[in-house]
Symmetry: C2
Subunit: 273 residues, 2 copies
Amino acid sequence: MKVAILGPRGTYAEIAARLRFGSSAEIAPYSMITDVAEAVARGEVDAGIIPVESLREGSVGEALDALAWTDIKVQAEIVVPISHCLIGVPGAKLENITQVLSHPQALAQCRDFLRKNLPKAELIEMTSTARAAEQVGKLKQPYMAAIGPRALADTYGLEVLRGNIQASEMNITRFLCLAKEDSRPTGHDKTSIVFYTAEDRPGILYEILREFAVRNINLTKIESRPSKRVLGDYLFFIDFEGHREDARVREALEALQTKVAMLKVVGSYPKRF
Amino acid sequence: MKVAILGPRGTYAEIAARLRFGSSAEIAPYSMITDVAEAVARGEVDAGIIPVESLREGSVGEALDALAWTDIKVQAEIVVPISHCLIGVPGAKLENITQVLSHPQALAQCRDFLRKNLPKAELIEMTSTARAAEQVGKLKQPYMAAIGPRALADTYGLEVLRGNIQASEMNITRFLCLAKEDSRPTGHDKTSIVFYTAEDRPGILYEILREFAVRNINLTKIESRPSKRVLGDYLFFIDFEGHREDARVREALEALQTKVAMLKVVGSYPKRF
């Protein structure tokens, strides 16, 4: 079993991969979400793990693009609780920290802690929490700290200066497992679709949502996103409860097909939250 | 006139501020979108400029949060065409570049160029395009390059190695001008709202959109976003055509008020795209 993840190793994406595939899976880290999706589409790996949404920061734009434009299916969602730590060289003191390195989303997730405890620290964005810890471990300066999961402290010979510094007690990132096929019905499923309407007129989205409402299908998420052609021209991403093989979902999707210019059923998979 | 922008100086936010307020406005750079919004709310500045959406990358999560939770109004939208350049030390050659520094969105916007021309270069995320150019100007290494607007080359004594390297010919970022008051009706306006439904049941969003559809009000954007309480519990952000003082908009908002747990009219302002 070979699994592509948004790398590098040691970040939350690897935790998500281990939750789904266990410790024996071979992990292949890629530097961009698009690369993970394309590795799945080309069959180079059996599955790919990408972050799609976090409680604090909302959707990951690059992930939505990958769902729309890559030949993959969503096979599962994996919910990973995020717990960030401030990590520094052994013996470093919180009051001496003047530089904090981390991934932009982790910095944002710890914004309240940083503004309260380190209001003057320079925030340095890195491509991942692991890269940030690696840099602090390499430079070994007592004024530098990284933000990321606790496991990074061990990996890079560092120490946890403060634990659980993210804004919300309840902080969760939703990862998707991409594969060539989606999942079989379990009776407790979700389906993700993306569509594009050729018309831009009042009521078109309303008419589309009608197909779900009249069939008592609960939407769990809706998002419009620039189609990259003209600003104001949007793709729609909708998640709803039910499997694409359920009779009422099948009917809704058939009705939708006649109203939109493009419809992609990205996949049905067990609902995890 | 004092205008807060998402800093540092020299990035696209300053270009947007100049487009709206001209060259005489005093510019106050802040390091986070939240800080810009709060400076406006506290009355420390007359207006604030924040990026809210880009053609390539979609919405800026922190900006949506600021709209929902800060005591500000949207007074205008400003559309700025984005043209990124690869900028290096004078005499640097494209084929020798092994490190590319920029803001994560700029790196993402130039993803196709980077994958084709510099597939092995290390991508280093910085808090802004200006910070990236500053760093390249300081270290003066021929293997380093920054991505950002052309003006940065002059500011930091650098040279444009390649121009217009962003993915799409048509690349635009939408900025919002925040202030204490929104704008008067012009006959060609847009309104932004954010709301939260207490109920999570099939059809609730459909019922809400009905209030717009039956009054022939065109939606230009819809987005659900985690409310930060529980994953799957969402705030909705909707932009639509019309001013909050238009009779049919006023009626729709009154009807909405009875269906949602929280409704904030973020502002009405002239439609720019």
